[in-house]
């Protein structure tokens, strides 16, 4: 009987063939927790009478959600994390290094075929590297930290095939929003989502991370993208000539759902308040006045995202009624953006460039909107209250659409500037 990629990865980590619907115990390859979830991981670890880590080299704590600390409460939790890191010798990335889902791939911690858990819901992002990565809660992560394994329900798989050629001004983010629009917020609950197709093959690794990141918004347990030459070249940048073990689905693998999506007629898309699946073409909301524009996050804080924003903002000014905030996804990306002149362009256009991290995405600091204000953001969530104020309205779009909107002071079609 043929297997999906998720079935293969779980089988290799459970030490026996497993299929959708079964429950198994599997070993894990890498674990991550961030400053919003790690404090509870530590508490759960202690509650389990934890006194050792199965392998300190395979765990990383990330300071990104509220970093640098905006208040005493967060400072105390950050201290708790740092004390734990020191005590057990696990890895950490510090404030200003970047957002977890950009950093774990960038630092070379991950490989194709691996089974990864992150105490963060957007952990499926890593699936762009042809591996299985699932978001879990703090207790689940603590158990894996202690034992090196976890229980899994082997997921059924939804297969998504993107085909056709993207038009000018349309990006991976628009493909991702098309996926969320088509499947809705519960279209893939508990499912593994395999993404393939010639249109997926044509987009860069940066774009693939964007789409994998949005799989969380259709309820997916994980995303796994087909391995190709681009994946290989990317992995080689940190893995050198190490042996790589990509995983391919069997031809007779069984899927619970197969969806084909034509991207050739795709327009720039926008998710309207207050759900990610409330998606329309930019034309429908064009002209909506905005107060804040935000480019960054684990969805769209990568160099390609900053490049298109810089292209639009070059020689232009952010509209006087708009605060534009740019948060590079990592220090490495920030440095590259400096080298390429993007940061200078952002500064000269009037943007506020913050330290790498989650920025204002999750509502703890660095740009909480006021009552009734409208934000357009490159993030992955626009839930009411997401950015710290339930009276604000959040629209989600590609970096190009957000940059164009920042210039015009209203939601705008990026094709005007490209």
């Amino acid at each position: 009987m043929g297997q999906t990629i998720a079935e293969k990865i779980l089988s290799s980590h459970a030490g026996k063939p497993v299929f959708a619907g079964e429950i198994c115990v599997a070993r894990v390859d890498f674990l991550m927790a961030q400053d919003g979830t790690a404090p509870l991981v530590i508490r759960a670890f202690e509650e389990l009478n934890g006194d050792r880590i199965f392998d300190p080299e395979k765990i990383c704590f990330v300071f990104d959600h509220s970093a640098p600390s905006p208040n005493m409460g967060v400072s105390a939790l950050h201290k708790l994390m740092r004390d734990f890191v020191r005590k057990y010798g696990i890895k950490k990335t510090e404030i200003g290094e970047g957002v977890c889902h950009v950093l774990m791939p960038e630092k070379g911690f991950l490989r194709p075929g691996q089974l990864v858990l992150g105490a963060d819901s957007h952990t499926p992002t890593y699936g762009a590297m042809n591996l299985m990565a699932c978001g879990v809660g703090s207790t689940d992560l603590a158990i894996a930290m202690l034992t090196g394994k976890q229980w899994f329900k082997v997921p059924h798989t939804t297969k998504i095939v993107f085909y056709g050629k993207l038009n000018r001004g349309v990006f991976a983010k628009d493909m991702g929003l098309l996926m969320v629009k088509t499947l809705t917020a519960r279209g893939a609950v508990y499912q593994s989502v395999e993404i393939t197709g010639e249109a997926t093959g044509r987009i860069s690794m940066d774009g693939r991370f964007t789409i994998a990141n949005l799989v969380t918004e259709i309820g997916g347990k994980n995303c796994v993208m087909e391995y190709d030459e681009k994946t290989e070249n990317y992995i080689r940048t940190f893995a050198g000539d190490e042996k790589i073990n990509p995983v391919f689905a069997d031809k007779d693998a069984s899927y619970s759902n197969e969806i084909e999506m034509d991207v050739s007629k795709l327009e720039p898309l926008v998710a309207k308040p207050h759900t990610v699946d409330n998606v329309c073409e930019v034309e429908e909301v064009r002209g909506t006045k905005i107060n804040q524009a935000f480019i960054g996050t684990c969805t769209n804080g990568r160099i390609e995202d900053l490049a298109v924003a810089a292209k639009i903002l070059k020689g232009r000014k952010v509209h006087s009624d708009v605060r534009a905030i740019i948060t590079p996804g990592s220090r490495k990306i920030y440095l590259e953006a400096m080298k390429k002149g993007y940061i200078k362009i952002f500064m000269e256009s009037g943007c506020c460039v913050t330290n790498p991290g989650c920025g204002p995405c999750v509502g703890t600091h660095q740009g909480v909107p006021s009552d009734g204000e409208v934000v357009i953001s490159t993030a992955n969530r626009n839930f009411k209250g997401r950015m710290g104020n339930p009276q604000a309205f959040i629209y989600l779009a590609s970096p190009a659409t957000v940059a164009a909107s920042a210039v015009k002071g209203e939601i705008s079609d990026p094709r005007e500037f490209l």
């Binding site: 429950i23 198994c24 115990v25 400053d35 919003g36 979830t37 404090p39 509870l40 508490r43 759960a44 509650e47 389990l48 009478n49 959600h65 509220s66 208040n71 409460g73 967060v74 939790l77 992150g118 105490a119 963060d120 819901s121 952990t123 978001g135 879990v136 809660g137 703090s138 207790t139 689940d140 158990i143 034992t147 394994k149 229980w151 917020a185 519960r186 609950v189 508990y190 309820g219 347990k221 759900t275 999750v362 509502g363 703890t364 909480v368 969530r381 839930f383 009411k384 209250g385 997401r386 710290g388 339930p390």
Partner: protein, 165 residues
């Protein structure tokens, strides 16, 4: 196990930001404090309306969004007796079971706001006596029932030392 309580009804896709907003959860581990803010962004007085043992009733995909365990812990510390939904989001479901929160999958269409329900977990039934209705509970795998019976995964692992699958 038998539970009795009053219902508080919600719709589909109730996300973790609605259950407990990010602006509270990042700065404290005091779950009793978080419990006072549950559902605040969609119903500012919610925490004043609930009594110990009350039930949350919802549609599909309850608990979607963030992986924050604060969401299940805040509900537990608010003394919510059980959450009855047509379906749960994956991470929320695991988190709930791990901390010993009672999660019940059932068709919730006929349940209204402020109904009084009696739940018989052993029998797998919800009794809505005023409406003279009996609703079937979708059974959980034995492995998960064991974790719930131990009051959460920490107790389970202390007792069995490993997952018994």
């Amino acid at each position: 196990m038998e539970l009795t309580g009053k219902t508080h009804k919600f719709g589909d896709d109730i996300n973790t930001d609605y259950i407990i907003s990010g602006r509270y959860k990042f700065k404290t581990l005091d779950m009793s404090e978080l419990a006072q803010h549950i559902f605040e962004d969609i119903d500012p007085d919610f925490s004043k309306k609930i009594g110990p043992g009350d039930f949350i009733v919802a549609g599909n995909n309850f608990g979607c969004g963030s992986s924050r365990e604060q969401a299940v812990l805040a509900l537990k510390y608010a003394k919510i007796g059980a959450i009855i939904a047509k379906s749960f989001a994956r991470i929320f479901f695991r988190n709930g079971i791990n901390v010993g929160l009672v999660l019940i999958e059932a068709n919730t269409d006929s349940i209204s706001q402020n109904d009084i329900l009696r739940i018989d977990l052993a029998e797998g039934k919800i009794f809505n006596e005023a409406k003279k209705e009996i609703i079937q509970i979708r059974p959980l795998p034995d492995f998960l029932l064991k974790i719930i019976n131990e009051g959460g995964v920490a107790n389970y692992l202390k007792k069995y030392r490993d997952f018994q699958i």
